[in-house]
Amino acid sequence: MGKKQFVHPYIPNMEPNVKKEMFDAIGMKSVDEIYQGIPDHLRFKGKMELPEPIISECTLQRHVEKILAKNMNARDNICFLGGGTWNHYVPSVVSTIMERDEFLTCYVGDAYTDHGKFQTLFESSSMIGDLTGFEACCTPTYDWANAIAIACRMAQRTTGRDEILVAGNMAPDRLLVVRNYCKPEMTVTKIGFDKNTGAMDLEDLKAKISDKTASVYFENPIYLGGLEANVYEIVKIAHDAGATVMVGVDPSSLGVLEAPGAYGADYAVGDLQPLGLHMSYGGGIGGFIATKDEKEFLGEFPSLLYGLCKTEKEGEYGFGEVFYERTSYASREKGKDFIGTTTALYGMAAAVYMALMGPQGFKEMGEGILQRVAYTKAELAKIPGVKIPSSGCSYCDFLVDFNDTGKTVKEINKALAGYKILGGKDISGEFPEYGQCALYSVTEVHSEEDLQALFDALKKIIG
């Protein structure tokens, strides 16, 4: 700790007099008498090789800020990346609540002393239920991918079937997570899709669905941009085969797009990040699963479920754990999969966001995004060599085809960085069949001026 010995501000009992008093109280001279319980050969005798500590908060702040300054951020630059984490506006009220030490630093207390946390997460689940059209929504999962994976395992138990069919255009990273979770006993099979519209190939779905299919999963909006319009047809094909239907949604789109519950889906999954969380280099994600409030569906959740309950004070909203025996906390390996610490704080942030937005906010934001995206697509298509593969509506994300420009997406993005623009995601590795295409994302934060900056820069780069 440097030359001078400090009592660390976070370790009060290292103060020598306090230490002596405490050791005296237990009749010990030093900590060695406690650690004697660890056999000598298991003790670490060396000193950990770590940098000298930075004990001043002021100095540490400058140290970390200097590192962070090496990142290009979406505040000083214009960011067109989406595809799972989006550049939405985060209201100050959400930040204020998230930073409250009460919520930020609480953990697994019961509702008696953490009543506020229980009610906030209950309200969060309720509002996600309203957006998605379901009466049951669990406490947050790790992320969207985790939500799909858990829902697949839930569907397996509910249907007694071992196969999951997924839209072939789902996000590849999410699919990797699903494959890992389903690996022990389930198979995951991709369904083909129309390269131009992104829509699921219904003939391929019909050919692959069988009495082994537990669930059919697709994303709406589609990962590659565009929308899956044949939702009623997919639901019918799946239900006729005795399979369930799972839809991955961007919850921020549900002010304008129909709720999956309303078109007959059995599960809606997605990410909380669009609901008031910063992008934070992937640190803003947290998932949700909404489903039917029937025992065969709700009863298969591995997650904690906070339910309303009466108390000795009449009229008080009490809370407790619903059907706790399901969980691995209660039943270890006999519980439903496993649970643990996930992203509860983000569920609370989402509650504040949804309450602020209300039905009007979601509708207007959705309409505005649809307009900005339509405008951007139309203007980009005017740039020689640039094409927009999909003609329908897109919400936030859409593909931009640079194949005819003679440049790779990587080259274009490198050049865009010079104009203080973070270009769309290069998908040439994930979907080589599209060649040099990029996944662009436009949200409510993009002004006409931002979009014009993109058009101007691309014209110069490609021109």
Partner: protein
């Protein structure tokens, strides 16, 4: 010396908050999204009208309509009805290492250089964050002695699940997965050490303790055979006893061809003191949000750092963060990887805070955390043992406890029918946050698990013991008082708890509650 603040007149904030839905007035709103400029509006018109009919939202959207001040006030009130560790004496949550979470770290994650960077940015544009990942990995490598870490798992249990996936991949690569379908764990290891391997497809064998409270070495040896894929064990287990047979257990499992995973959720007391490497483990994990000073967030966001020996590194999730001498980069070139367990490379907010916290500690500071934690715990148990009706697991076995203790109110239960829940409720009336009893099954009757880590003062510990003594005394003098506690927290004693297990009554959303309970 500071005053011991026994809060005899404590009362938690109690706002009688309605549901946010009940604060709704049609037409109100909390925020206005950015308006579309006229130029765009004129160019594209009403794009929403062009949505396919099947996707136009026709179902009602019954979100609350509330003005901004009222939304803010509602959630401020609810936050005040919550016992965060930074404002309470939260040594209550044993096994969870409820440290002080520095405010500085919250400032750091609000910096646009972090908050506003996208995870799919080209690595060249996020060199700062990749540096943070790389440097923090060095810290956990040093603390464990292991060779390679993944910071991708989103929590401790998630890291344990990832470890189970690595075990699966390892035996699969050797062509032995069909044969090696069993994982051994111990009953005082966290439930995830049983549940995660089960989720990954393994049969779970659970070992109970010997007469000293230690995992029964002979029983483990007897359970190990050609079907053993691995052992998953916590050490010290959740009762705070260090397993002196750790290396012998590792040898026994290795001897039959199994792997050894060390659940280090309870690592705080051993930073710089004892490591996974010296005990011979193949893998270990840290709950970054516990051991490395980041907030728990009411159950996340979190990060589970999974460490392995070199020969298992090829199975870790992709990508890993590497450095070529001049630049940091993401390495996806791992054909034998288990794939991914989470989107992107990890819970970056937690990693950044943990990196900052570790910078402030250094090697000596980390060791000081460990040493002060075990001192605090032994100071506390010495006081607690003197409280009538309070005992602890395997008391009197001659083994010095480490960072935490599983206490028991069995004596109070037998004499006055006052158990763990009753004590917990009443302690809340004195400002003590809900304590962690134990995972199920309750091997130790009427348990209470307490971990007075390095953040707490001597007076905090004294206060805690005073509250336990006071409530234990109340249990003896007026047990009925405890049966209806709490009185001074935000919520009163639950009744009709059976409704929480009744599908016709339970409600996890407002909409379900209104339907099932006939609320207009």
């Amino acid at each position: 010396m500071a005053k011991v603040n026994f809060k005899k007149d404590y009362h938690q904030a109690k706002w009688n908050e309605p549901m946010i839905y009940e604060l709704s007035t049609p037409g109100l709103r909390g925020i206005i999204p950015p308006l579309v400029e006229d130029k765009i509006e004129k160019a594209v018109g009403d794009t929403a009208a062009e949505l396919p009919d099947s996707l136009k939202r026709k179902s009602s959207l019954d979100l609350p309509e509330v003005a901004q001040k009222q939304v803010l006030a509602h959630y401020l009130h609810l936050s005040q009805e919550t016992s965060g560790a930074n404002l309470t004496n939260d040594m209550s949550e044993g096994t969870c290492t409820m440290k002080y979470n520095p405010r500085l770290c919250e400032d750091l994650v609000a910096n646009p250089g972090f908050a506003d960077i996208h995870p799919d940015q080209d690595p060249d544009t996020v060199q700062g964050m990749l540096q943070v990942y790389y440097e923090f990995e060095k810290v956990v490598k040093e603390v464990s002695g292991l060779d390679k870490f993944s910071l991708q798992p989103g929590g401790g249990n998630h890291a344990v699940y990832t470890a189970a996936s690595v075990v699966r991949a390892y035996h699969e690569a050797r062509g032995e997965l069909a044969q090696r379908n069993e994982i051994i764990t111990t009953i005082f290891s966290h439930p995830c050490d049983a549940a995660c391997p089960a989720t990954a497809g393994f049969k779970v064998i659970t070992i109970y303790p010997d007469e000293h409270g230690m995992p029964d070495y002979e029983a483990i040896k007897a359970a190990a055979n050609e079907h053993t894929a691995a052992i998953f064990m916590t050490n010290p287990e959740d009762i705070g006893i260090y397993n002196i047979h750790a290396d012998k257990i590792v040898e026994a499992i290795h001897a039959v061809g199994g792997l050894c995973f060390y659940d280090q959720a309870n690592a705080n007391a051993f930073l710089g003191i004892a490591r996974a490497k010296e005990a011979g483990f193949d893998m270990c994990h840290f709950n970054v949000h516990k051991t490395f000073g980041t907030p728990h967030g009411g159950e996340g966001p979190a990060c589970g750092a999974l460490g392995v020996r070199e020969y298992l590194a090829k199975f870790l999730p992709v990508p890993t963060v590497e450095f070529d001498g001049s630049k940091y980069y993401l390495d996806y070139d791992k054909p034998e990887s288990i794939g991914k367990v989470r989107e992107y490379i990890g819970q970056s907010a937690v990693v950044l805070k943990a990196y900052a916290w570790s910078c402030m500690m250094g090697a000596d500071g980390l060791k000081e955390c460990a040493e002060v934690s075990v001192m605090n715990n032994n100071y506390m148990v010495n006081k607690m043992e003197k409280i009538p009706g309070v005992t602890h697991a395997f008391q009197g076995n001659g083994i010095v406890r480490q960072e935490q203790i599983r206490y028991s109110f069995e004596g109070l239960k037998e004499k006055y029918d006052i158990g763990s829940d009753d004590m917990n409720c009443r302690m809340g009336d004195y400002g003590i946050p809900w304590f962690w009893s134990s995972h199920h099954p309750w091997v130790i009757p009427e348990p209470m698990t307490i971990e007075p880590c390095e953040s707490y003062t001597k007076e905090d510990i004294d206060e805690y013991c005073e509250v336990v003594a006071k409530v234990a005394q109340e249990a003896a003098e007026n047990p009925e008082l405890l049966k209806h506690a709490p009185y001074n927290t935000a919520m009163h004693r639950r009744i009709n708890e059976e409704e929480l297990d009744d599908p016709s009554k339970w409600a996890i959303t407002w909409r379900a509650y209104k339907r099932k309970h006939n609320i207009d």
